[in-house]
Amino acid sequence: MSTDDFILKAEGIYKSYRMGTAEVRVLKGADLAAKEGEFLAIVGASGSGKSTLLHILGALDKPDKGIVRFEGRNLSEASEGQLNHFRNKMVGFVFQFYHLLDELNVLENVLLPAMAGTGVVGWLSRRRLAKSRAKKLLSEVGLDERANHKPYQLSGGERQRTAIARALMNEPKILLVDEPTGNLDSETGNGILKVFEKLNRAGETIVMVTHDEGIAQRAGRIIALADGKIEHKVNL
């Protein structure tokens, strides 16, 4: 398989953190590749480095060593401005704890990536279009009635669906999802996974990390992270 076949590829990723005087080596040469339209799950125990790998894939963090390529382009060679553009337009993040802004209502939270990607003047010209898309996304995740509610007025599942709508706002090429059901009961979590499955069927590329192998089974492909490396690969 050539490099061009993968939308996202990580090669020999190393990452360590300093905790006091000790150095904790989290990733020790992890390799990963995701094809366009794929639903990939990364499983691993707590502390295995799943989230760190996901953050590196999404350019929220930089590896000590190794290369991340997105559509063949090496992210470590990108400027800060290009990385901001990458995070804004190419990827969408969904976090375990939703991370919605409390001061904004549901619709505004969903609109945030669109607002972030443009200045005031640009925003005024495309505001109507952006609002229309945000409302459509909220409708798709079943929250069209909650657009004007504040995050604290929503249930956990509703918050996560808001976070998914936010991640999809700028039509990213890949969704990076970190323990999306970790904070939800099984029924609500199941509903969230159905949303991801639906998105994937529509062509969205999804990379999800989870410690729960049962949840990982919902993905098209599973890879395991142990001792800082991709230990074995499971194709379902």
């Binding site: 989230s51 760190t52 953050h55 999404g58 929220l60 963090d61 800060e80 401005g81 901001n84 553009h85 990458f86 995070r87 804004n88 337009k89 993040f93 976090f95 375990q96 704890f97 991370h99 919605l100 802004l101 409390d102 001061e103 904004l104 505004e108 945030l112 990536p113 607002m115 972030a116 990607g117 443009t118 200045g119 005031v120 925003w123 505001r127 936010r166």
Partner: protein, 445 residues
Amino acid sequence: MYKVILPFRYLFKKRISYLALVAVALCVFIVVVVMTVMTGLVRDFKQKNHSFVGDCVVGTESLVGFSYYEDFMKVLEQADFIEGLSAAIKNYALINPKGSQRSVGVEIMGIDPVRHSEATGFGETLHYSKSDVSRTFKPSYDPNLAGCVVGIDLWLGRDAKGQYTYAAKPERQALGVSCFPLTPKGALAKAGAGEVNTKTFYYSDTSHSGLARVDSSFVYLPFEQAQSLCGMDRPVKRASWLHIKFGPNVKPEAGCEKVALLWRQFVRGKGAGLLDTVKVQSWKDYRRPFIAAMEKEQTMLTAMFVLVGVTTVFIVLVVFYMIISHKSKDIGVLKSVGISNSNILLLFLCFAFWVGVFGSAIGAAAGWQFLVHINQIENWLFEHFEFQLWDRTIYAIGDIPNTIDLEVLAVIIVSAIGACLAGALIPSWQAARQKPVEILQVTQL
């Protein structure tokens, strides 16, 4: 757009933001009120000094005075930029109300009331003869007597509201005025003889200039009689000062320079050494010893307000540290959607800007309202608690100055906004430098 929406949301949805707003509003309120009152007092004091002196003076502090003043007055009268011109005798004397054993040391000023009123605001300070200054030295009870005008605080006391109680007409009261006449070279003119000149004048009016030192120590006499009393009528006539008022379109500094030029030309023509002590001064320079003290107080007050500004900066800094530490999750999210470090910095600086704008607007509005009603408030406090900011029986202050200088107000508001931006700069910079992954991972823990 988030840079517009989020700062407003942080401002109005976070209670801690109100703390910064209140701190800024309070500081602006205090500075506006105190600066307005202080600036008003200084401005009022300067206006009164300007009115007392005229635009420019030519003369000498020497008690001997200077000669050839009449010749120079003729030169000045030819100048088209001069509107009013008055010669004055200034000296020290003892006054002794007839029938009393009490003698009081005063400064006497010999003037022609009509000319002096044209050159200065003297006419406006009079009570009985304000409408006809030519009658200033003509006591209403006997116009043939030599009248004198007495500084109001030498003659009348103030009540608790700062008001003087005038009789319907000036009471007949004789004042003995004694002076040491000096020769043109400064020697006592009557050494070995009687030494003093004494003459009796009759109280004809009071002068209320609003300048405490003037009103409590000046007695105004007719020019020729003061000149004679001080021995300045021989062997050549002398005067102490010439008071000059310029035309309406002449700037005092420019006018003074023209007068100084005329004076230098005049002195060259005379070649008189006695004129060396004569100076041409603007009203500000002439009254500098008095004005400078008040200006220094104002400067000191302004310096103290810099400390208030530093306090504001510190409060804003603390509040912003608290806000940003509570908002670290937001910073992580904003970065995850592609917002750059510089835009995070700008976001929080926008927040600080609006804290400054709203805080200073509230403070300025409150200060404005307080100043509009400050005299009513003081009157109410006096009526109910007998409290006065300035004791009107002592200080020559009628109303507390409350005219807001819009330029000063603008400087205060801009400074407050600047203080907010300065206070928020370091926390905002630190917020911008936070790594999203650290914030989001810590939050997850």
